[in-house]
Structures are given as C-alpha cells and as structure tokens.
C-alpha cells in the first residue's frame, strides 16, 4: 500500500488499513470474496430486525475492512486496479463514521452466520476489524476506559484484590464453608468476572456449596481472579494477550490441573478458544467451563439434586458459550434436573437471540439506545412464553443486560445464574 505519511489524519487511516490487512486471513478473504450481497444475514441480526434500518445489515458493518482487502490484498486486484476498479482509499473520517456500526451495533454473537448461505463468520471478522480501529484510536471512550482499568488493576471495573477478599469472607460466613485463597496444588482454579464479584457474590457461595458436595479441591487466586477480557471486546490483540497471560501465569504458578471459566460468555471464548492463540502456545492445564464441570459431576453422580423448581422458567443461551462455544446440551441437561416447567423459547439453542449486550456493547454507553432497541427481539421471545416466571442464564453479563432490559419494560420476570439455581436444589448428603 502507498504510505503517505504527510498528514497525521492519513496516518491513522493507514494504520487501520495495515491492521485490516494483517488480520485478513484466508478465511476472511474467502468471506469477502464469497459474499453474494443477498442480505440474508440482516434477517438474523437483532439490530436490523428491531430498527429495520438497512445500515445494520451485518455484512455492511464490515465495509471498511472489505474495501481495504479489495484495494490492497485480494487476488487479481492488481489487474482490476489497472482499470480503476478497486475501492477508494479509506479515510479517517470514514472510519469515524463507521465506529458506531463496528462497536455499537454488533455483539459478535454470530447469529448472522447461521442465516448466511455462504456461512460467513461476520462476528469473528468484526473482532478482527476492531483491531484496525484500535490502531487508529477510533474507539468508544468507555471501552478505552475499561481497557485502561483492566490493564492497571486487573479488572475492567477496578475491583481490587481487597474487595474480592471481603466478598469471599462474607460468602464464607453466609454458607458456612471455608474458602482457601491462593492454594498451591489445588485441582481447580476458579476465576470470576468483576460483575459476579461485585453484583452477584452469591455465586461464590453457591460454588463453595457445590464443590464441597462433589468433593472438589479448588481455590481462588488474589492475583488473577478476573476472567473477563476487554481486549477481546475492544479488539486489541496486545491487551487480550496480556490479560490471558495473567491467568495462565497464575494457574501454572499454582500448579492447578484445571481453570474453571465462570458464567461469562466472552471470558470462556477468551481463555478457552482465543487464549492459546494469543499467547502462542497451549496451556499446561485444561480450561473447563463451569457448566461443563457441573454436567460432568451430575452425570458421574457426584452431585445430586433433591428438589425441583416449580416455577415456569426458560434458558437464555449466551452466544459465546452456546452458539460459538459448543455447549448446547449441557445447560439443558442441568436445567431439566432441577426444573419442573422448563420451557424453551423460540429459536432456543444455537439460533437463540443475543441479549443485545455482548461484544462490549453493554459497556459502551454510546450504544445504550441501540442496545435497548435490540433488546426488543429478546423481549419478544420472553413474551411468547405463557406464564413465564424465571429466566436462567449461565452468563453474568447476559444477566445484568436482561435485568436492565426487563426493568425498562416494567416486567416482573426474574433472572438467575445457572450454578446459583443448581446450588439451591443440591441434595446435601454429607450435611
């Protein structure tokens, strides 16, 4: 590419473009070349469906990266250039105009891939394209701030180790089970999201109960307790790697066999699937999602449920855990164990709607209005279930987003985490 370094604005755009190109792998190139502009992806995206505004067509959100590819990298583009048939140079202004599309209107939920006849993974491509926006520093302020917090304090919400310790102590008292922090040689290391530590600390107590019941040797670290990864959301490889590295270092330092990914969608994706690629090697331990572990424990008979919940409940599938994480059956099996009236919503499982807050959208106040509108699709799914009382979801971020959305709608529906629900129905054999 031509590197005109004279004007500073051009430099930002150039940096973005070189990132776009760097992250255009064979898969990305195939996506760009195969797209037939059929617009089917729009039918899957809650941002389009709730606004009917065609600019929210998923593939359209990728336009800048697509243009960079067609101009600089696509096979045969040199011949097309001879005839002036390549797109124009991308400008900084263009990127700025696009920033709301890239950051506010995509949850990286991957639903559009299911509707696309070409199977194009738009979510992952958005993730890659955000790298360019980070390079050009065209990023929503809130995400920048979260990133700064995470790098400085370990937590995007500035939750300090002291706060964690306080919450753990409180939970010990509540459930009467001792929790050993920073235990070397434990089998399992639990990491959490700031949202859980501050907003839903009951989760810690619930885990303590469940693990005691199943006889699991576990610990929480005061050095690496944060599971979320803002680098994945903002689209910064470096940040994402730093944050993953912290967990990996601590897990290997403590010598655990497993790291338990908590009820958080993108945290699972960050550590389980993207992590080894970020740090460039595989781990000395295994990453297991809490749902996977619970499912394993119940099928092995190490956990038993004594009672069933009589309320009419449904399961909200967190995109990164279900559609893009592959854990479709596990949460359902677990729920069926403890629920009398478990009702699936329309499109449940792999084609479920995102809560509207994933991919950094809920952390980005600029997107608040759009997010609220996208939530309409989710709300519709809930409304379609007669007599629904409770929504279960194994993701703390989905949980807050759903709670906020329901509150906006003055809905009496309640939301609860899956492990928390399970803990309520444990059959305590030993006690």
């Amino acid at each position: 590419m031509s590197t005109k370094t004279s004007a500073p604005t051009q430099t930002a755009a150039d940096q973005a473009v070189s990132k776009f190109l760097e992250y255009t792998h064979a898969s990305t190139a195939a996506y760009f070349d195969a797209c037939v502009h059929c617009g089917e992806c729009a039918e899957a995206c809650h941002f389009y469906l709730s606004t009917k505004n065609p600019i929210y067509t998923p593939i359209y959100k990728l336009q800048p990266m697509l243009k960079a590819y067609k101009r600089h990298k696509a096979p045969l583009s040199s011949i097309k250039r001879l005839f002036g048939l390549v797109p124009e140079q991308i400008t900084k202004q263009e990127l700025e105009e696009w920033s709301p599309l890239v950051y506010d209107s995509c949850n990286m939920c991957g639903r559009c891939t299911l509707a696309c006849p070409m199977g194009i993974d738009i979510a992952f491509t958005i993730r890659k394209m955000r790298e360019g926006f980070v390079a050009a520093d065209i990023v929503p302020g809130d995400l920048r701030q979260s990133e700064k917090n995470a790098l400085e304090t370990g937590s995007p919400m500035r939750v300090q180790a002291k706060a964690l310790q306080a919450q753990v102590r409180a939970q010990e008292k509540d459930c009467g089970i001792a929790i050993e922090l920073d235990k070397k040689g434990a089998d399992y290391l639990v990491i959490l999201s700031s949202m859980e530590i501050m907003g839903y600390p009951e989760v810690i107590g619930s885990l303590a109960k469940i693990f005691k019941e199943a006889g699991i040797d576990w610990t929480i670290s005061t050095k690496a307790y944060e599971a979320t990864n803002v680098g994945i959301q903002i689209g910064s490889w470096d940040t994402a790697r730093t944050l993953v590295q912290r967990v990996v270092d601590e897990a290997e330092h403590l010598g655990v066999k497993y790291v338990i990914s908590p009820e958080c969608g993108h945290a699972y994706s960050a550590l389980r699937w993207q992590g080894p690629n970020l740090i460039g090697r595989s781990y000395d331990f295994e990453v297991i999602h809490i749902i996977e572990l619970l499912h394993q424990l119940t099928t092995e008979g190490r956990l038993q449920m004594k009672s069933k919940n009589g309320r009419r409940l449904t399961l909200h599938d967190p995109c990164q855990i279900v559609r893009r994480g592959g854990l479709v059956k596990e949460p359902r099996a677990l729920l069926n164990d403890v629920a009398d009236h478990f009702e699936e919503m329309q499109g449940a499982g792999i084609t479920n709607f995102c809560c509207g807050g994933g991919g950094g959208v809920s952390a980005n106040s600029r997107a608040a209005k759009l997010q609220a509108s996208a939530f309409e699709c989710k709300m519709q799914q809930f409304n379609d279930i007669d007599g629904l009382e409770l929504i279960v979801t194994p993701c703390a971020n989905c949980r807050t987003v759903l709670e906020d959305g329901l509150e906006e709608h003055d809905s009496p529906l309640e939301v609860i985490g899956l492990s928390e629900l399970l803990a309520q129905h444990l059959d305590h054999r030993q006690t």
């Binding site: 469906l49 709730s50 606004t51 009917k52 600019i55 263009e94 105009e97 309409e376």
Partner: protein, 381 residues
C-alpha cells in the same frame, strides 16, 4: 438513527439511476437484437451442429424469387401433380366448411380443410396491426402532450421526510417480476407483429428472419412465466382494488390531473382500472397464448385463429395502458416510484394523492425507513 448522513450511501443506487438502468438494459437488448441481425446478415444459414428441427420451413433458399405460376388451362393445373384438375365446386364446399370424416385422430366429423386463415390474415394485418400501431403511437403522443402541458406532477407541499409503508416486499417483488417479463414479451411480441414493416425495409428479409426467429423463441420461453406472474399479481394486489363510489367522483374530476383535488383510498380509480385491465387482459393473453403454443389443446382449427386475434388485440390494449402506467410511475409523478422500490412513500405524497388511505395510515409514518412495527400496515392493505 444518527447514521442517516453516511457519505458512503453512494454505494447504492437511487431510484433515478435505477429506472435509467432498467430502461438501459432493455434498450440495450433491443439494440443488440437489431445489431445482431445487421452485423451477420449473410451468415444466416443452417447450423453446423445439427439440422434445424423444422428444416423444411427454414430451408427456403435466399433470393429464390418465386417462379411465376404457370397458367392453368381449361381447369387443368400444369405439371404432373396429383389432383391437377381444379374443381370449383370442391373448393366452394371447402369455403363453406364442409364436414368430413377421417380414420385417425378424431372420432367425430369435422372440417378437414378450412379457409378461415384467409380471413384471419385479413383481420390481423388490416385491423390489429394497423389500428394497434396507431393506438400505440396515439397513446405515446397523448402522454407526450400531457407532459408538455402539465409537466411532472410534483409533491405540492414538498417532501416531509417522513415515510409511510405502502407496498410489502412480496408485492414489490411480484410487481417487478411481472413487469420485467411483460417488457421482454412486449419487445419480442411487437417485433413479431410489426417487425416485417419496420425491419425488412431496413435490414432485409434474411436478417429479419433472424430477428423474428429470436423473438419467437424468447416470446415462447417467457410467456408461460408471465402466466404465473399474472396470477400471482392478481392475488397479491387484489386487496383494495375493488371499485367504490369515491372512484366515480375521482373519475369525474379527471383524477385531479388537470387541477383540483380528487380523493382516493389506497388506489385511485386509474390504478384500479389498470389493475383490472392488466388482470383481465393478462388472462386473455395467457389463455390465447396457451392455445397458440399448444393448438392441440383445443379441438377445431377455428380456435387458434381466434386466439391469435385475441392475443394480438389484448397485447396492444395492454401495452397502450402500460405506457401510461410506466409514465405516471416514473417521470410523470414525483414520489411514486419509491413506493415500488423502497416500499414506502413520503407522507405528503400520500396526503396529496391518496388522502383517505393516508388518514388511515398516517400513524405509521416514521423517519427515513420503515420500522419493524410498520410492517403490519402493508399487509393490512
């Protein structure tokens, strides 16, 4: 939605470019049809791959000016042909439609030879093509005159910026599907009807043979699709096209085309007339077309002849009205086309042209694009 002013909207086509584009495509097609015949007039000979299916018809050698027929003497036709004696009484009974029987095909007696083809040819050439030609020229002239006098009918109060959904995606797709086929069929059909007068003097008989053969093939190919299109269009646009009393008033006021205001519901009298015109003639065209393509479907030889006349007549009547429809849908009236492209129309357009419909639907007006909830309005009709 904050993104309305995106500078990259240039990626998309606006409706002007679009209509130009469409027109361009068809002009281009018509042009190359003619061009094709101009460029390769002398190459028209039998294919090298395999002999033509109806080689007997096509094998007329070029420039084979027909031999002057030898004179018949004393009722005897010269040459050594069978039945070389001209029997006046025999041909008179043929002319009268004599009934006979044959051993194959049909169990009941019917005419074996008939001469109505002569009448058919007379009607086709002297009425359909002559008056039909004048009809099309006349309609085009009237529209041109109207345009010169009245100009483009603008949205008087300007655009409001708010839009109301008017046609659903299904309606739009069905409309354009029908329109594309109709235009393809019109072009090929008109070439078949008028081509010999227009083209033969210009490009000669052989070249016209090429054009005519091509037109016939494409006409036969697209015809059956048009039947499906017409039927679908009937169901998709039926709602709201029933005549009401306001329509009479509208018609009496001349539709407000020459000033004044004429009230109307979703469709005005003109549009309703066009709907029924297109459907009834479309069905006529479909049925007669089927008979022409599959004459064995109907028993006697009269039917294909009648079908031929009906087909030509109906086609010309439909094309004549279509010219007006296309005019008013594009150049003639500001703000109409977008209803059929984007699916929604400006609020002020609705108020000025379909006030009664507007009063029912103005609550659905929104920003620049149809929102989720407004979708219902389109299906309500």
């Amino acid at each position: 939605m904050g993104h309305k002013t995106f500078s990259h909207a240039k990626l998309t086509l606006n409706s002007n470019q679009l209509s130009q584009g469409i027109a361009g495509v068809f002009l281009f097609m018509a042009a190359f049809l003619m061009l094709g015949s101009l460029v390769f007039p002398t190459n028209a000979k039998a294919s090298s791959v395999r002999p033509p299916a109806n080689a007997t018809i096509n094998a007329l050698p070029e420039n084979s000016s027909p031999q002057p027929a030898p004179k018949a003497t004393g009722g005897f036709v010269p040459g050594n042909t069978l039945g070389n004696r001209s029997q006046t009484s025999f041909w008179k009974s043929v002319r009268d439609g004599a009934i006979g029987t044959r051993d194959t095909m049909q169990a009941f007696p019917s005419p074996l030879i008939q001469s109505q083809g002569q009448d058919w040819r007379y009607l086709r050439n002297n009425y359909i093509s002559r008056y039909g030609g004048w009809l099309l020229i006349g309609v085009t002239g009237l529209i041109a005159l109207f345009y010169l006098i009245r100009g483009r009918i603008k949205i008087k109060s300007g655009r409001s910026g708010a839009v109301i959904p008017r046609f659903s995606l299904t309606q739009r797709v069905v409309h354009w599907f029908t329109a594309v086929l109709f235009i393809l069929l019109s072009i090929s059909g008109l070439i078949l009807l008028f081509g010999k007068h227009l083209f033969i003097p210009l490009i000669g008989k052989t070249a016209f043979g090429v054009v005519a053969s091509a037109s016939m093939q494409s006409h036969n190919l697209f015809g059956p699709l048009f039947i499906i299109a017409t039927l679908t269009m009937f169901f998709v646009f039926l709602k709201g096209n029933g005549f009401k009393l306001v329509d009479l008033k509208w018609a009496l006021k001349g539709g407000g085309f020459f000033g004044g205001h004429a009230s109307s519901h979703r469709y005005n009298f003109g549009e309703k007339a066009w709907f029924w015109w297109a459907i009834i003639l479309g069905i006529t065209l479909s049925l007669s077309g089927l008979i022409l393509e599959f004459p064995w479907l109907v028993g006697t030889n009269m039917w294909p002849l009648l079908a031929g006349l009906a087909h030509g007549g109906a086609a010309l009547l439909m094309i004549a009205f279509a010219i007006g429809h296309i005019y008013i849908g594009t150049v003639g009236m500001e703000g109409s086309l977008e209803g059929m492209t984007r699916g929604s129309v400006d609020e002020n357009w609705a108020r000025e042209h379909h006030d009664l419909w507007y009063q029912e639907h103005n609550k659905e007006a929104t920003g620049d694009h149809p929102p989720a909830k407004a979708q219902a309005a389109t299906s309500k009709g």
